[in-house]
């Protein structure tokens, strides 16, 4: 619109955020004339594109803020910001078996029935996958049912595991699965019904961080053969502008737009539970994002 050559914004988005963020990207592009190139996928896949293939985006929006300190800061990014919450739910559709009777009190029993197909994401690859396992442990404590966590794992067998939230949603929509463990935002943006879970187990309440941390899960580490232990934490989405981002001015414009009250409202309406202000960790973040002291 303003220049002869259109500016570009390259943005990598977690699969679970794609649907709600797309209208925001479209409006941003229409208003500024900046061409948006969006890539959507598993959070870890985006990280590998940066660290292994050296394909650096201007912005990176991930489903798990912990990925930044673990794999990206300080070598590939100087700062990151927590910007939205989410919570675990059990998503289903009208044609799921026993859809009429499932509720927040009986889901453990229904999901363990033999005629029900339950899906979950790969805990080694997707944050939503290991958070599902953490939620199982919290549920075992909360409902005081010995062996619940293990039997829930057994009832969502390997054949019903997929690599990320998006692929799981496809199987639920196609009727291949009856129930999936996924984020509330994914369930809402796909138009699925869902069973809300108590705050004590849904990983959605930041004030319960110490309670969540009592559950731990072992997943594959970043070196073959090694395992790493992950503690339960509140679900927080994180964003960052990596070092050597090719279009920093476009990134700054989009961050300012993303923090505007209009967009925060729009994303909340699209079921993304935006924080009132992003919480920045590290140095060098644009002024608009920094939390006032």
């Amino acid at each position: 619109m303003l220049g002869i050559v259109a500016d570009t914004l390259i943005i990598y988005v977690a699969a679970s955020l794609t649907r709600p963020i797309q209208p925001v990207l479209d409006t941003f592009s229409a208003r500024t004339g900046i061409v948006v190139q969006r890539e959507s996928g598993a959070s870890l896949e985006h990280v590998r594109k940066i660290t292994e293939l050296h394909r650096v985006p201007d912005l990176l929006l991930l489903a798990d803020v912990e990925v930044f300190p673990q794999l990206l800061v300080p070598r590939y990014a100087a700062w990151y910001a927590e910007f939205a919450r989410n919570r675990m739910v059990i998503a289903y559709t009208k044609r799921s078996k026993h859809a009429a009777e499932i509720n927040r009190d009986n889901w453990m029993e229904i999901l363990r029935r033999n005629d029900v197909e339950v899906g979950r994401a790969d805990p080694d690859l997707a944050p939503v996958g290991y958070r599902t396992l953490i939620m199982f442990q919290l549920a075992q404590r909360f409902y005081r049912i010995p062996g619940l966590a293990k039997s829930l794992v057994d009832c969502a067998p390997k054949r019903n595991i997929r690599s990320n939230a998006g692929a799981l949603a496809v199987l639920l929509a196609a009727g291949e699965l009856d129930y999936i463990y996924d984020y509330q935002s994914v369930a809402e943006s796909n138009g699925f019904s869902y069973v809300p879970l108590p705050d004590a187990i849904n990983l959605g309440d930041p004030s319960r961080a110490s309670e969540y941390a009592k559950a731990t899960v072992r997943v594959r580490g970043s070196v073959p053969g090694m395992q790493t232990e992950l503690k339960g934490q509140p679900i927080l989405y994180g964003l960052s502008e990596p070092l050597r981002a090719p279009h920093p001015s476009a990134a700054a414009k989009f961050l300012a737009y993303l923090s505007s009250p209009e967009v925060v409202k729009q994303l909340r309406a699209a079921h993304v539970d935006m924080l009132d202000r992003p919480i920045v960790v590290g140095t060098g973040a644009p002024a608009g994002l920094r939390t006032p002291k």
Binding site: D122, K158, R159, S163, A174, G175
Partner: protein, 272 residues
Amino acid sequence: MTDGNRSGFSAVSRSIITIIVALLASLFLLFIVAPVLGLVSSGGARGLASLATDHELRASLWLTAATATIATILGMIGGTPLAYLLARRPFRGRAVVAALMDLPLVIPHPVAGIALLLVLGRASPIGGVLYQAGMRVAGSSTGIVCAMLFVSAPLYVSAAREAFARVDARYESVARTLGDDAWRAFRRVTLPLSARGLTAAAVVMWARAISEFGAIVILTYNPKVVSVLSYDRFTSYGMTEALPVAAVLVLFALIPLAALRALRAGGPYPSR
């Protein structure tokens, strides 16, 4: 301008054309070969060495070979009669059928996976019957075979059709006039004459099947074929762990491709 001048000029232009053609051919060859060589040289040795210890990789290679072979056999059983009809029998709508057979080649592979899920998944009429009978398509090796068959069978049918078309129809007519029925003429004349082309078609189908990723990852993530395993290793550990898996797949694919070349080296088609 004299004739001699003209022929001198064309000799120069001919050699220029030869140089350009050779240059283009070399660049093209380099474009194809360099990534493959890079992959094999950086991951091949480690990949082969890890075969001894990496149980998951061995299981994955075995699964990939077995499912691709089953898909290819199914492709030959179903595709050979269809290819013969397309090559030999003019029928109404033949062009449409031929075009339909090419369609899977243009469908993006994850979409192909979703399309198969809609037809063979538990919620579909066919998939529902299979599911009741205890046969799952999604999340099983059956799903892998279905995905491989769908994306690679068009290559078989297309090549098999060409193989049949290359056999002179007069040989069949002669067999018929000597008293053979249609099936006997096909079995005794057409099939032997087109056997090499059919085998080549099957090898291409097999090679395409083992490389499939997009449709398989939707239908069956576990158990993992080699393409899914290399994606999994790349995402979990990065390039150093993904390259050996991919390199082993390339080395492994050399077997049918070398077999194909050996077949072709046997000389021109006997029908010629």
